[in-house]
């Protein structure tokens, strides 16, 4: 046996790659996890996690140099001084925008599991059935019952805190004790309930922050600095959770600086033999061989790997026989919501910084309602007392000004929507062979946009937000909307979708590539629709389910 031969190869070390590595190694497979970027060691690698704000020369802000170096990241909140190293170097890894697409990437061990927003929601049958009912895209080849036990499996291991709220559209899960709403959120919730009764719900967010000790991880310490990396391991990441579990089996090898350039396809067996990698540091090429390959490079890069593979058999790459590879790019459209002022509660404050907010699950186009668009949206938000950065109109400068700013200001409440995006065949990524990245590899070109359904939905997203906040007693409510740019949701999906028919989908019901049955894609690429819930929990469940199937089939000698 060559030293480059394993039972399984996992491409990517983010949320789904980490899960694939954990599940496969725990089931006894010798596995290599290939990460294109550098290693970031758990705790030790979180170099800024314990710094005070004054230890950052620009106090966390952005310099002109950063703005120049990160022409994409600068478009939204991620460009900042505190975790700059976690975001992809855009000069080394550019991409082409036929239409604007904000692609916020993390090329390092753990991928975006280090910086993710951690909101974790199950899908409902309404979501899995939607494409079939609407005659849009391809029908999901699975239903809620197929994924339910895998959701539980994912929640139990990752550690998701939340309430069993009994909201019909948002299935309850196996949760740790929920975080608390603050006094203002509880007040808003009370009025909200009085106004909407059971028609709409206002719940505490379900988040992958543990609230009790779990698997040698310390419970959340309420620092709200998650995206720097948690020294307590209190939120789910590859480093805090799946990587140590996989390493403990003795079956995992991790190789950083390994850019997978292609999956090696064997025409005779119609299966993958392994992968070819480019060492990002030495530029040397290596081959790794395995019985199965899990593709978890993040939705768009997983499509890139497939598109760059087996082009001698299929011009469009491995898995392109349906003509859907790289198509149907989805995200959640956002940047629309409302905020306002809360009167009273001046004798109340918060202790601790809760890394979580409130959630209003989808309520539109349910129970027979028909808007002038299909599907729906949810909101995330929260209440807090304003701080020193507020404006004080009646004071100019001086001691009173300073002392006033040193005290908390009024309570405010704000929320923003996350809307479902439909799978449009013409929303696509392709290989742009005219341009190369630092390693001479072709880059991706984006031709993706929001369309009429999303535009119409956004009108409701703005107006509903204002209406609900006003109904809940929030004062001076200000609604806002922004350009509906995709990518900003950082929930890329759909480029290698699952389906029932190889003619219209890239993957089957077990996330297997129709054109190469020992290749599994279990990240956002697999999604046939986007729903409006934050998607990572679904990737975890899909990955665990596919890994279980893969190992079973492998043992049976079927793949």
């Amino acid at each position: 046996m060559s030293t480059n031969t394993y039972d399984a190869i996992v491409i990517g070390s983010g949320i789904s790659g980490g899960w694939a590595a954990k599940e496969l190694t725990e089931k006894g497979l010798k596995t290599i996890m290939l990460e294109r970027g550098k290693d970031i060691e758990h705790i030790k690698g979180y170099v800024n996690a314990n710094k005070g704000p004054w230890e950052f020369p620009h106090r966390g802000g952005r310099t002109q140099k950063m703005i120049e170096d990160y022409p994409v990241l600068k478009r939204d909140y991620p460009l900042n001084e505190t975790n700059l190293d976690y975001w992809t170097n855009e000069k080394e890894s550019p991409y082409t925008e036929i239409k604007r697409f904000d692609w916020f990437r993390g090329y390092h061990m753990g991928g975006r599991s280090l910086m993710w927003g951690r909101q974790s929601y199950r899908w409902h049958d309404t979501d899995f059935e939607a494409n079939a009912k609407d005659g849009i895209g391809t029908d999901w080849p699975i239903r809620y019952k197929d994924l339910a036990k895998w959701y539980s499996h994912a929640e139990q291991f990752a550690g998701i805190s939340g309430n069993r709220d009994g909201v019909p559209i948002l299935p309850d899960g196996d949760f740790m004790p929920a975080m608390d709403m603050n006094v203002v959120e509880k007040d808003v919730q009370k009025r909200f309930k009085e106004h909407y009764n059971e028609a709409r719900h206002f719940i505490i967010g379900r988040t992958a922050n543990i609230t009790v000790p779990h698997n040698n991880r310390t419970n959340c310490q309420y620092r709200n600095k998650c995206w720097l990396g948690c020294p307590f391991g209190a939120y789910f990441s590859t480093q805090s959770a799946t990587l140590p579990a996989a390493m403990a089996t003795g079956n995992l090898t991790v190789r950083p600086f390994s850019i997978v350039t292609k999956i090696i396809y064997d025409k005779d067996t119609k299966k993958a033999k392994g992968v070819e990698i480019l060492d990002a540091e030495t530029n040397k090429t290596y081959e790794y061989f395995a019985k199965i390959v899990f593709v978890n490079a993040s939705a768009l890069n997983s499509a890139w790997v497939l598109m760059n593979s087996a082009t001698d058999v299929w011009e469009g790459g491995l898995g392109s026989s349906s003509g859907e590879l790289g198509h149907n790019v989805m995200d959640h459209h956002l940047g629309v919501g409302a905020g306002g002022r809360i009167e009273g509660f001046e004798d109340k404050y918060t202790f601790g910084r809760r890394a979580n907010g409130i959630y209003i699950p989808r309520y539109r186009n349910l129970n027979g309602e028909k808007r002038d668009y299909i599907r729906g949206f949810g909101y995330q938000g929260g209440g807090s007392r304003s701080g020193w950065s507020r404006d004080i109109a009646e004071l100019a400068i001086g001691g009173e000004f300073k002392d006033t700013l040193s005290e908390p200001g009024t309570w405010t409440f704000g929320m923003g929507g996350f809307g479902e995006t439909l799978p449009y065949h013409e929303n696509k990524i392709t290989l742009d062979k005219t341009k190369k990245d630092k390693w001479g590899l072709p880059i991706l070109a984006f031709d993706v946009e929001c369309k009429e359904n999303e535009h119409k939905m956004r009108i409701d997203m703005m107006n509903d937000a204002k209406e609900m906040l006003e109904a809940a007693g929030v004062k001076d409510v200000n609604a806002y909307t922004t350009d509906p740019v995709l990518g900003r949701g950082i929930h890329e999906m759909g480029t290698a979708r699952m389906g029932r028919d190889p003619k219209s989908s890239v993957l089957n019901e077990w996330n297997q590539v129709w054109d190469a049955k020992n290749v599994f894609v279990t990240d956002g690429a697999a999604m046939a629709s986007s729903a409006c819930q934050n998607p990572s929990l679904t990737y975890m469940a899909l990955t665990a389910r596919a890994a279980d199937y893969a190992v079973t089939e492998l043992k049976k000698g079927n793949i």
């Binding site: 975080m179 109340k348 001086g398 300073k402 908390p408």
Partner: protein
């Protein structure tokens, strides 16, 4: 700041002015050839520290000078400001002194605390009036070009005193002195209480 904080901030940002907030959200044009070295001279930093101290003076808690906001301002203007903003800020240093001279017949550094406060209170009003007019002009300009999809609104810089005040506030409350003395700094709360008692005079938390 994470996405949830950003969502909240945007809502508030559009609802009213928030000092420093735009600094975290907005992107501006890169590239600068303005020489900012002189901002780092001992004299200029001392001058900016006194401006800062006048904006946020020592009370029961230390003031902006104790946090060296002068040095902070120089770093921020050098590294984070656009060329146009750097120019406005640099000229502002001179303008502030001129205004002082006109009002009291002496340079800012020679003015006493009362004179400094009076001067900067006036400049604060001037800056606020300027911002109001700037906002109204921008709205009118936007309306005028509402049919032109490719129209790019001109970048009208802030008033120099707005810059100084913003940088002073940001620099002070995120400094070690500001965060730990003027505010309450608690890096590891360990628990969450959303119904925590507050009485007037209690300091705000340094982190959000």
């Amino acid at each position: 700041m994470n996405r949830r904080d950003a969502l909240g901030r945007v809502g508030l940002l559009l609802g009213g002015t928030i000092i420093g907030a735009e600094f975290f959200i907005s992107g501006c044009k890169p590239g600068s050839s303005v020489n900012t070295d002189d901002l780092f001279s001992k004299d200029t930093i001392a001058f900016l520290n006194e401006v800062g101290e006048t904006i946020l003076p020592e009370t029961k808690t230390p003031g902006a000078k104790a946090a060296n906001v002068g040095g902070f301002m120089a770093v921020m203007v050098r590294d984070c400001y656009t060329e146009a903003d750097q120019k406005v800020f640099k000229e502002g240093v001179g303008k502030l002194d001129e205004a002082c001279n006109k009002k009291f017949g002496k340079k800012f550094m020679e003015a006493d605390a009362k004179q400094r406060t009076e001067l900067l209170t006036g400049l604060d009003k001037e800056a606020k009036d300027y911002a109001t007019k700037r906002g109204a002009d921008a709205t009118a300009d936007k309306l005028k070009h509402k049919d032109d999809k490719n129209y790019k609104a001109p970048d009208v810089p802030n008033h120099y005193f707005t810059m100084m005040k913003q940088l002073t506030t940001l620099g002070f409350f995120t400094s070690e002195v500001g965060a730990t003395k003027a505010l309450r700094y608690l890096p590891v709360p360990g628990k969450y209480d959303g119904n925590y008692p507050y009485k007037k005079g209690d300091k705000a938390w340094a982190l959000s």
